[in-house]
């Protein structure tokens, strides 16, 4: 199970990376943490002609808090997020959720931007960003742009990223003192992709944001449940999930996902802090 051959380039700047990725003949693919792309290459499911390794780009690393926003470089690794005091204070939802992302050795290497760009439907990060009202910043040769997370995740491994663009930064509003967060996921084993999972931001008795993962073709906001919560609390929210486009997989049929989504939602509310 060896990856097919490719050309490897390690650019020294974003501009250089974008120029390399713009060469469509080369079938170039950006390499972030590699924790999903490399398995796919080893299985020969992915066979990029050219790998553009973003790991040398200091511009994409690190995080800072600025004007009530947490700005996270796309190449920031999960382990760095978990170790960061800024994250602990300003994005407590990450602290609840990130320990469920795979295992320590994967978190030491995997990046937030990689997860965003891949848009695995069972991954935690996209759902967290939906709930946190994060903004995804992208850059291509045509320039930079930013899109709300809600408009970024379009389908199964499908995002708003255009050919030749890379994710550069994830901008998350820092927590407001009135906000509380909840998270719950069902995974067969610790660190596995979720069978069903949910992230919550609760702004008060009449306001919450609910994001599911592992239940459909992408991370998905449950807007009807959010409305139902305002009117009837958690039981109403649990009952307002039927319109979500549940998809089955090896571990659970769509019907089972629907059931587990409700239970996960209840438990996430029970655990908010």
């Amino acid at each position: 199970m060896k990856a097919p051959d490719f050309v490897y380039v390690r650019p020294g700047s974003i501009a250089e990376a974008l120029a390399l990725l713009a060469d469509t003949d080369a079938d170039a693919t950006p390499l972030a943490g590699g924790q999903s792309l490399m398995p796919m290459m080893n299985f020969r499911v992915a066979a990029p002609g050219k790998l553009v390794d973003l790991n040398g780009l200091a511009e994409l690393r690190g995080l800072r808090v600025e004007n009530g926003m947490v700005r996270i470089g796309a190449m920031t690794r999960y382990a760095e997020l978990l170790a960061s005091d800024d994250i602990r204070e300003n994005i407590p939802l990450f602290g609840l959720a990130l320990p469920h992302v795979a295992h320590a050795a994967i978190r030491n290497r995997g990046t937030i931007g990689g997860s965003v760009a891949l848009a695995d439907p069972a991954a935690e990060i996209p759902a967290l960003l939906l709930v946190l009202e994060a903004e995804i910043h992208m850059q291509g040769l045509a320039g930079t742009r930013a899109i709300a997370a809600e408009d970024f995740f379009l389908g199964l491994y499908e995002t708003a990223l255009q050919e030749g663009e890379i994710v550069t930064e994830i901008v998350v509003p820092a927590r407001k003192t009135t906000e509380q967060f909840g998270f719950y996921e069902f995974a067969r084993r610790h660190g596995d992709y979720a069978m069903a999972g949910v992230a919550l931001k609760v702004g008060g008795p009449d306001h919450c944001r609910i994001g599911f993962f592992g239940v459909a073709d992408r991370a998905i906001r449950a807007t009807r449940a959010e409305v139902a919560y305002r009117d009837g609390g958690v039981p109403a929210a649990m009952a307002a999930l039927d319109d979500l486009p549940f998809d089955g997989d090896l571990n659970a049929a769509a019907k089972t996902k629907r059931h587990l989504a409700g239970i996960a939602l209840k438990r996430a509310f029970e655990g908010i802090s």
Binding site: M1, K2, A3, P4, D5, P39, F43, R44, F186, R188, R189, H190, G191, D192, Y193, M195, L250, N251, A252, A253, K255, T256, H259, L260, I263
Partner: protein, 792 residues
């Protein structure tokens, strides 16, 4: 007490002690010698094209593009080997009626499972070999496939081997007493259930691997492999590659887990040997993880419908079941794929007094990967069916699960005895192990906790199993049916000039501690410190002839041979010592590396001095004294077909009835494997085995599509047990040594895997019972439990 001094009641005692494994240090420092670590001069690498279809006619290949790829040395398709290897058939004569078709290393005309090798590339590197495999254009014509076990025998299901007329590979009926009469009585409660056991596989962390070197100047083939039975592989390679048996050397150094996976004849391994012979260069093949999933043998895959009849006082009057199992398109060579079903027929209900017994087994072909012997062959099915029915019956008549077992277990004082299926039992302790279990687990406290929890909506369950385990098989297991598989093992013990022992044995080490217990036995019986015993195993050139390590036979058979050889050498050394010291040899003993006066313990001569005298200064010995400082002994089980062990186990689980998730809170095992040579190693065998059993009960399943595609052939999708979900496991021992040997050791390798699924299933059903739900399908996934609860 004035019992005669036993062979184990000696000063420097190791048997019965938790001696750390000397060879573990090597592994902790990264100095293991696994097959993939081996790099030989001019070595090439193999990769295989495998059938993408579960059933397909092979119409031909276009190999031009593949041949043009960099690094490619040779490409073979199935037919290229027709003149270089003879076909093999997985049948044994004592399994009457078993049939299977001839197999070649790679499919020739028809591929019969997704993953069957159909072409082979040998190249300078594995990556280049894979590049070329991707360029092979195979013209495969898909055929209708027979994938489902339960419809395999239907008239409209495609027949996989036309000459057989049906997909039936084997069937057997075992009958004792008058089952029908019991079930028609009106004083018995009858419980009937259907049990489904998913396919799973071994997932050895080290994949199957072989490096083969052929030296044409001596017509000699050396086969380094990751496996359990070197002499069996020697015989197979010699036979099918047309080599003199003595010209085949099989070496197994460190083996990264095997569990029965690495004891069979795999086409890709044989093809690697053929390629090495044709190319006259070393060839390495290491299965990658995807290949492991689609080509390592699978196991289980049974559907059992069974019924039990009990009287109002809980006496089991009769057991009747039908087992249907799918084995893939062939019976595996040379052990066959009928053994698991045969074990189910032989072992179900075996711990219980049972006179009326009927067991029907049918083994069917299907277009899926081959099924064969994996750790605890048949036991998980046999124990789950019997003890599952026992628990259901107990619930139906309102008797506690522990109590119904007490009423029906074969009493400890009634051995030897013969079971309804004809198994001969001796030296078992079902009552003692159950009593110990109930006491160690605080059964009554757990029941009280269960009641309290239920009031809070927390559903906990307790599941018990009483079981037997086949160990120490005699020639009646394989040899009698014509397989080149030795039931006897040999041990050689040699005193070297430095006063140390060099011992060798035909059993093999796969991490369970074989080499350690051999050293413990030799050191103690002969009389040296353990660090002066050097052990060689896993090399047909350098060890006595024997079967290897499988079927929980290493300690009981290989250990006994080592005991006998060590005792023989001791007698030989004392004879020499008697002459050198002009003493009666009976008055002497060997302790801690010296010949001593048996009564006083005073040293008379060190073994080093004795050995140096014999080896260097033979002139000091009388000319008619011809010392032999080496002894070899062999041992096989003769009195019984198998030496059974028994155990009682319990699982404590909590079922999240909202989500269907099961958490195993704790597990207990009380094991009677006869004499315990090294308690720590036995405990660890039990624990590892239990976790594999929990895997089968809750997680592991090879999920196939209807057309025979394995859908979860990755480690992300095939769920092996990981640390986060596994419980702590308490292990206790009852020691009833077998009278068949001096050592008295039975086997301990498989009990955990055999018993845990039943215990966990019973515990889950115990938890679900107040909700009126039950589940008899493994793995008991959250979705299946939710279905059982009627929630999805």
């Amino acid at each position: 007490m004035n019992e005669p001094l036993h062979i184990f009641d000696r000063p420097n005692s190791y048997i019965g002690r938790s001696v750390p494994r000397p060879d573990a240090r090597r592994l902790l420092e990264g100095r293991g010698k696994f097959v993939d670590d081996l790099q030989l001069p001019r070595m090439l690498h193999a990769a295989f094209l495998r059938s993408a279809h579960s059933h397909a006619r092979i119409d031909g290949f276009d190999l031009d593009a593949a041949r043009a790829m960099p690094g490619v040395v040779a490409i073979y398709t199935g037919k290229d080997f027709a003149d270089h290897v003879t076909p093999y058939v997985g049948t044994l004569t004592h399994l009457a009626g078993l049939r299977s078709a001839p197999q070649m290393p790679m499919a020739m005309d028809v591929a019969r499972w997704q993953g069957e090798p159909i072409a082979m590339v040998v190249a300078q590197s594995r990556a280049e070999a894979e590049d070329a495999v991707a360029m092979i254009d195979a013209d495969l014509h898909p055929l209708d496939a027979a994938c489902d076990t339960e419809s395999a025998l239907d008239a409209d299901t495609p027949v996989i081997h036309e000459a057989f007329g049906s997909n039936l590979a084997w069937e057997r009926l075992v009958e004792a007493g008058d089952v029908d009469a019991v079930f028609s009585r009106n004083d018995v409660t009858v419980i009937k259930r259907t049990f489904r056991f998913g396919r799973h596989t071994g997932v050895t962390l080290e994949p199957r691997a072989s490096v083969v070197e052929y030296d044409p100047s001596e017509n000699r083939l050396t086969y380094w492999y990751s496996g359990q039975a070197p002499h069996m592989m020697q015989a197979i390679l010699a036979k099918h590659l047309d080599l003199p048996e003595e010209n085949v050397r099989v070496v197994a150094h460190d083996v990264g887990g095997s569990f029965g996976i690495k004891i069979h004849t795999y086409g890709d391994d044989i093809a690697t040997a053929v390629a090495a012979k044709l190319l006259k260069r070393p060839v390495k093949f290491v299965a990658d993880r995807h290949e492991s999933f689609v080509s390592d043998i699978h196991a289980r895959d049974h559907v059992v419908t069974g019924r039990i009849a009990v009287t109002a006082d809980g006496t089991i009057e009769a057991l009747d079941f039908d087992d249907l199992t799918g084995i893939g398109p062939y019976s595996m060579y040379p052990r066959t794929s009928a053994i698991e079903c045969n074990q189910v027929l032989n072992l179900t209900g075996a711990p219980y007094k049972l006179r009326n017994y009927r067991a029907r087994g049918r083994v069917v072909f299907q277009n899926k990967n081959l099924m064969c012997q994996y750790r605890a062959v048949g036991h998980p099915i046999a124990m789950a069916v019997a003890d599952g029915l026992v628990d259901e019956a107990a619930a139906a008549i309102g008797v506690d699960p522990a109590e119904i077992r007490r009423r029906n277990l074969v009493p400890d004082d009634t051995y030897p005895c013969v079971s309804a299926s004809g198994m001969k039992f001796d030296d078992l302790s079902h009552e003692k192990t159950l009593d110990r279990l109930i006491s160690e687990m605080r059964y009554d406290d757990l029941r009280a906790d269960q009641a309290t929890c239920r009031e809070k909506g927390v559903y906990r369950g307790i599941g018990l199993v009483s079981m037997v385990e086949v160990a120490n098989p005699s020639p009646m297991f394989y040899g009698i049916g014509g397989a080149p598989i030795s039931a006897q093992d040999g041990a050689t013990v040699r005193l070297d000039a430095g006063g140390a022992l060099h011992v060798s044995s035909s059993i093999t080490e796969q991490g369970q501690g074989t080499n350690t217990i051999l050293a413990q036995i030799a050191a103690e019986v002969f009389g040296v410190d353990m660090d002066r015993v050097k052990v060689t195993t896993g090399d047909t050139d350098n060890v006595p002839y024997g079967g290897g390590t499988w079927a929980s036979r290493g300690a009981g058979i290989g250990g006994e041979a080592m005991l006998l050889a060590s005792k023989a050498l001791k007698d030989q050394v004392l004879d020499v010592a008697g002459i050198l010291l002009q003493s009666e040899s009976e008055s002497l003993d060997i302790r801690s590396g010296s010949v001593v006066d048996a009564d006083s313990g005073a040293e008379r001569i060190s073994l080093r001095d004795l050995a140096r005298t014999v080896y260097y200064r033979g002139n000091e010995l009388p000319s008619d004294v011809k010392p032999e400082l080496i002894a070899t002994r062999h041992y096989r089980v003769t009195d019984f077909p198998f030496v059974f062990t028994n155990s009682a186990m319990a699982a404590h689980v909590e079922v999240d009835v909202e989500s269907g998730f099961v958490r195993v809170l704790h597990f207990w095992a009380v094991e009677d494997c006869g004499r315990v040579i090294n308690p720590q190693l036995v405990d660890e065998q039990i624990r590892g085995g239990v976790v594999q059993g929990i895997g089968g009960a809750l997680y592991e399943e090879c999920v196939y599509s209807e057309d025979g595609q394995l859908l979860n052939a990755t480690m992300a999708d095939y769920l092996v047990p990981m640390a986060g979900e596994m419980p702590d496991i308490s292990v206790f021992h009852v020691e009833t040594p077998t009278k068949t040997s001096v050592l008295g050791a039975k086997g301990a390798g498989e009990a955990g895997t055999g018993g845990a699924p039943a215990a966990v299933m019973n515990a889950v059903n115990d938890a679900l019972r107040p909700l009126g739900a039950s589940i008899f399908q493994m793995p008991m996934s959250p979705e299946r439990i939710l279905k059982a609860l009627g929630k999805v």
